[in-house]
Structures are given as C-alpha cells and as structure tokens.
C-alpha cells in the first residue's frame, strides 16, 4: 500500500492546466492542490478566482499560469461572479449563441478567508440559488497572502500575526468554523473535504463534483509552510498527519448522506501533527490535551453522522 501511494501519482493526468513558473513559496501544498484540481478538471472549464495567494502567485500581468479561461475580480465576490458566468452560459446556450455541445463547468476558488469570512454571504447566496458551480475552498487556515492573519478557519491555539501568542494570549481562541457542514446545511447535492496529500482522493472528488448538476462544495486543506512555520519538505506528510489525527477528516456529503472517505481504528495523537508547526510552538502539554479532547469529540460526532457509531 505504501509503495502504491509513492508510485501512483505517476498515473495522474500528464497535461498541466495550472502550468509551471508560478510564484508560490517552496513546498506550498495549496499550489499543489490547485495543480491537481486543474488536472482533474481538464480544459472544458471556466475558472473564477478570488484574491489571495493562488491568484497572486499565478497571474502577475502579463504572465499567467492558467491555460484555461480564468477570471479574477475581487476578494469576496467569487461565488457571485461564478453565478453570473454560469447564468450567462445557460441563457446563451438556450438561445443558441453557445454552440459547443459539451457542458462547460464553472469552477470558483478562494482561500479560507475568501470563503469562510469575507465571501461567506456571496457563497451562501450562490449555493442557495442552486447555480451549477463547483466552489473550491483552499484552506491554509489564515490570510496568507496578506501576511498570516487569523481567519475563522484558523485552528484553536494557532499563533498568527493578528492572533499572536503572547504573555496574555495562547494564539487563536476560537474553534475552526465548520465550512463543509455549513455548506451541507444548504442542502446542496455534494460537499466533500480533501487534501493534496491524497492526490487521487482529491482528483476523484473533483471529477465527481463536476459530474453533478447543481452547486458543489469542496474544502481542501492546504499546508502552507510559510504561514504554519513548518519545514517546506514536510507539507505532504503534515497533510497526512492532519487526516490521520482526525484534525481534518476526509469525507463526502452526497445528497445529505455523510460518508467517511478514510476511517481509522485509532487516530494518531494531535501532538504528532502539531509538533513540526511553529504556529503551535507556544502551546503547553495541557493546551494540547484540550485540543486533543475537542478533536476526539468531533471525530466521534462525524463517525456518528456517517453511521459508523
């Protein structure tokens, strides 16, 4: 099995639609996730990108990493722009002005800030109205593009530049906002979590999402060595530890049915996952025990939703 996962990536689609030469930091798993998603999407797609790391690293005028149609306008309106593109394609096709018989998939993408905070309302509106759009949140757990400020997706205890650890603070003092559950609560046909540490799972979920008519939401945990203050060669391993520890479980919610993508008899301790990350360095054993308790509780709650407990 471990051998398979080493060699399997060679089986992936060779064509790159998110092409080399972008300016992401060394070891950026968010850029890797985008690359894998782009492979899975193919070329019959229109991308709508929010302001954030992935937009900035891929589009310094006049260069671009995108060889598919791509539009960026603002930070918080990506779901609405995508809704506009999708509606336009729908009516133009109906009126015979778009002749391409293939279904063109509209894919919106933004960071955790663009999704869980400033673009939350536009996203909720797009999902509620039922647009045929796949929205992908690349979650690196902070506003990285502007220098590692906290977002509502930043995990408890993480030190960021606006939730710094200090004499009187232990870093972020709120639990991560549960975006996949919030999106699932909109009653949309498909919600899933993924991580580029599991490339085939990620690509399969993208392919499944685009095959479904209606709004879909994919939440991708993306290790950011710069913001997490972790070693740039450990992003893949760290992503796996996030999943193996239950900090970021992989699952799908298909037509309201919750399904775990990877179950574990025994989770690894969250301490193992947090160890290599400078953003958690200030936490004591007792602090980590509190986080462990929370993660364990959430893990069981999720397994229950999936009918496993």
């Amino acid at each position: 099995m471990s051998n398979f996962s080493v060699y399997a990536s060679r089986l992936a689609e060779k064509t790159e639609h998110f092409t080399p030469g972008h300016r992401a930091c060394v070891g950026c798993a968010e850029a890797l996730a985008v690359r894998l998603v782009a492979k899975a999407l193919g070329d019959n797609v229109i991308m709508v990108n929010a302001t954030g790391c992935m937009e900035i690293i891929s589009s310094p005028y006049p260069d671009t990493s995108w060889d598919v149609p791509w539009i960026h306008t603002l930070f918080e309106n990506t779901a609405a722009v995508a809704a506009g593109v999708e509606s336009a394609l729908k009516v133009l096709r109906r009126r015979g002005k778009v002749k391409d018989p293939r279904r063109i998939k509209v894919v919106a993408m933004g960071g955790d800030g663009a999704t869980a905070d400033i673009g939350f309302q536009a996203l909720s509106g797009m999902l509620e109205r039922g647009h045929d759009v796949l929205y992908i949140c690349y979650d690196n757990e902070a506003y990285m593009n502007t220098g590692i400020q906290r977002s509502s997706a930043t995990p408890f205890g993480a030190s960021t530049t606006t939730s710094p650890a200090g004499e009187k603070s232990k870093g972020q003092q709120t639990w991560k906002k549960n975006m996949p559950a919030i999106c699932a609560a909109h009653g949309i046909p498909y919600v899933a979590t993924a991580c580029p540490s599991y490339p085939f799972d990620l690509m399969a979920k993208v392919k499944k999402a685009v095959s479904i008519q209606g709004p879909c939401y994919l939440h991708v945990l993306s290790v950011c060595p710069t913001g997490w203050r972790s070693a740039s060669d450990l992003a893949i391993r760290m992503g796996r530890q996030a999943i193996e520890s239950g900090v970021f479980p992989l699952y799908e919610v298909e037509n309201g049915e919750w399904k775990l993508s990877m179950d574990f008899e025994k989770l690894i301790p969250v301490a193992d996952y947090m160890k290599g990350q400078g953003r958690f360095r200030h936490l004591t054993e007792q602090d980590i025990a509190g986080i462990q308790e929370h993660v364990t509780k959430e893990w069981h709650a999720l397994r229950k939703k999936c009918g496993l407990e």
Partner: protein, 390 residues
Amino acid sequence: MGKREGLEVSLAVAEAVKLARADVIAAYPITPQTHIVEKLSEMVAEGELDAESITVESEHSALSACLGSAAAGARTFTATSGQGLELMHEVVYIASSMRLPIVMAEANRALSAPLSVWGDHSDVMAVRDTGWVQIFCESGQDAFDLTLWAFRAAEDKRVLFPVMVNLDGFHLTHVVEPIIIEDQAAVDAYLPPNDFPVPLDPRKPVNMGTFAPPHIYSEIKKSQEVAFQGTRPVLRELLDDFAKHFGRKYNFVETYKADDAETLILTMGSYSQTASVAVDELRAKGRKVGQVRIRLWRPFPFDELRAAVRNAKRLVILDRAIASGTSSPVATEVRSALYNEEKRSKIASIVAGLGGRDILPEQFVEIIERGEKIADEGQKEPFEMYGVRG
C-alpha cells in the same frame, strides 16, 4: 411603428431592457428602483423575456454577477439606487477597468444617514469618477430611449465601458408619462446582438483580471483612460444614429433659450423641466435668461459645455448633492472646465432638492434671481443652500 402609452417610467425602462433582449439580469431590491426589476422578473416569469434573472443576496453580488455574465459574453443589465450603489462601490471600478459592457439603471437616491428613500444625486456623485459612461434622463421618454442607447453604446467595440442611466428617484421613476415604446423590429434593427470580443470560452482561453506590478500598472490605467476619454466622438455618433432610427435627438448638453441669455441656469436630471418653466416666466418679463442642461455627465462634455455657456455673463448652477468640505459637484466641474477660457461667466453654486425635496417653478425663479445676485457680487462661500431652515 412604436406606440405611445401612458406608462410608469420604471416600467418603460423594463420595456427597453426586454426589447433589447437582455440575456442576464442581476439585481437586488431597493426603493425607488424596485419597480424596474419587479417588472423584469414578471416578464421572465411570463415568458415574455427569455433571460436569466439572478436574484442575488446583495448589490455587491448583483454587480459581481454582472461581471461574470458580461465576461462570458451575455448582454447584462442591473438596476440599483442609493445605498445599493454604495454597496456596489468596489465592484463599480472593476466593471469599467475590465471593460465590461454592463448597463445599469440608477434611480438616484439620497444617502443615509439619516435614512432617506427619496431622490437626489448624492449616490451617483460618489461614483462619478469610476470610469462608467453616465447619462441623465429628464423624462420618461429619455429613460426608455437612453436605456436602449446604453446597450448600444456599452457594447460598441470602440467603447466597451459600462453605462449608467440615471433617473431621479420618484420624481422620474414613479411618475406616469406618455412614452413611445418602439416595436421589436425597430429595436432589433437599431441594436445588433452583443458580440463581446474576448468572452470566457474554453475553446479560446483568455485570462482576465491578472494583477499589475508597479512597472505596468500606470500603463494599464493610462490605456483605460485614453480609451475612456476617446469615447466622446463615438458616443456623439451613437446619439446621432439613435436619432436616425427613432427621430429623437439627444445631445451631451442641451440648451433652452440660451443663445442670447445673459444668465443661464444649469441643471441635470428631471428638475430641468421645472427649471424651463421658470425660464419661460422670466423671459415673459423680458429678462434674458436661458437654460443649459448637462445630459452626459461622464465622460464630461467639455467642448459642448464651453460652447453652450460661451456668451453668458452668469451661470447659476443647481446641484442636488453636497460634496462635503468643498464646493458642489457640478459647479466644481463646470468651474474647472471654464478656468482656462479667455472669457468666462461668473458662477453661483446653489444646492437644493436634497432628499426628495421639491423645487417648484416659482422657487426656480427665486433660485435664478438669487444666483444672479451671488454671481454679480462674487460668491464667498463654496456653495449656498436654497430654502433650507436653520
């Protein structure tokens, strides 16, 4: 042949959007614009208009959805007012900077606080420098005609800028007027299908909205501004063409009894018609008074304005907005347009009609007379408010 109907002006705007065969409409309700989008929703529901109506959750998303729609090559319409336009503010710049031919009906409304749903020009003045073509209506016929024209202008490949059609909230949007509604064949002959040159299309991928480092930002902004300033002759030509098709001629700047006038009252929007009544009254008393009405507000029609006011001794400028901490917006614009002229009129800046307050013909007479006095004495204050207690 079109037919003349008694119609609420908002509904005439909706008729124009339908006749233009708009593809996508994205808007959010706000008084006094709401009748426009309600009517359009009804037309879509009844199958009279084959369009996608996106009932967004905010104005920010309304204009954002329009960005996506226009970028995908669809004929795109939105309507808003007051607070809605302010909520869109950030997106307003994107539409023009990305050269997306969106048409917006703007029911001009005062800005909170205090909350007021009634008309004035505070909302549009806050977006006057955003690179949209901005045109003002004076009557219901203007509103119908200029909405049709707006699609033609926005989508013309020599223009490719969004167009904002301004109608005074309530004083214009909610009145019933006799309006000629042109028939579909005539509109089709006037308005070719939208042919956006670089739509988002997987068969011919383009990237839009990449970011600009310092070494290129200025060049991009320069090219945008050169293009925008360069739209004047095209917009003029397109107004001529509208007249050829429908027999109604609109000009960037309209004049009334202005040729030999010593005093000109300068207005913008629907109060212009009331001001004309005052001009007639003063003329009847033998006073050399005339009127200048600015119709195209952006790009500002410098040449037409200078020509229109060349012989006047005094210009009394009515503004329906305050530009806090300075003179009033239209007066400031006109002053700067005339500063380098050899011969220039004395200017009186008067603010009135805020938050929906009426200006009656007899009050316009007072405004003109008061303005003449201020102009002759030289205005000391940045502007004067007319008819305000306290």
